[in-house]
Symmetry: C2
Subunit: 183 residues, 2 copies
Amino acid sequence: MKPEEGPIQESTKVSGFIRGISILVLVLRIIAVFGTLGSALAMGTTDETLPFSTQAVIFQAQYDDIPTFRFFVIANATVCGYLAVSIPMAIYHVIRVTSAKSRALLIFFDTIMLALLTAGASSATAVVYLAHKGNSSANWLAICRQFQNFCERITGSLIGSFAAVFIFVLLIPFSGLILTRQR
Amino acid sequence: MKPEEGPIQESTKVSGFIRGISILVLVLRIIAVFGTLGSALAMGTTDETLPFSTQAVIFQAQYDDIPTFRFFVIANATVCGYLAVSIPMAIYHVIRVTSAKSRALLIFFDTIMLALLTAGASSATAVVYLAHKGNSSANWLAICRQFQNFCERITGSLIGSFAAVFIFVLLIPFSGLILTRQR
């Protein structure tokens, strides 16, 4: 016969659940650090000089020719720094499962960082899309035909950033879930 | 002499605090409904036909010539619909201050909607910025010189959307704060 569960067993089960989620949160934060760092570095080191060019006007492409890409690098670097700082707190949450106020504080900062990172990634995506497809109504030509390496690089740099956005979309509800279980 | 506070007075104080925040959340959600609705409508009804034009190529500008603006309208309409649906739940939270699971559920959906809305608003902003300033490296000309009304309209339509983003950045930590106080 299964013994009846008392309040102590119940509390141990909840602690185990919270600790499990806290470890997952820690791992996700570490992945997101590398995602945003990779994105910032990949975009920040992108430039391409064409050895020759049919059009005299364009012969070099650099990420900081386009202000949106500069914003993308700043946003990713900021979020990467924040995530690195938040890791000790995430470790503390694995050890102390009852800490509620610091989790609520992380929800606040995570939300701001999610907005910042999504803004950076989306605005860069809009420009990358234009670089690939151009826009006939606005007479904007697709520059990717000329700058293939440049375009591959800037497109690739979006991946780490969107991975980190996805991770934040998980982290914030996880914190909320833990707060309900701590009652 | 001030009487000592018992657990009942303490609990009443906490309830009052949670109810106050819940009312604020409800008001903010209603404002965000109108913000996103206004943005979707302003962008979705934007088009401009020039009576005459020196360049034969461009003579009409419509929001759906640019896919990013179509995404902006879809994102705002989706978030507006979600916010409208969430209002009954926000009213329920004003009445029942102890409901924790439904608040955690709102954190989850609010986070997804924040990401969607920020993506729509930021990508549209990147294109609006290009329309205003152009980009000499990519040979993209500023189209706002020709389409002044169009540009004023699309720029204005961003306001409601960013106001709603700001509101979400408040709503999510508010839910987290309430969850810590319910313990």
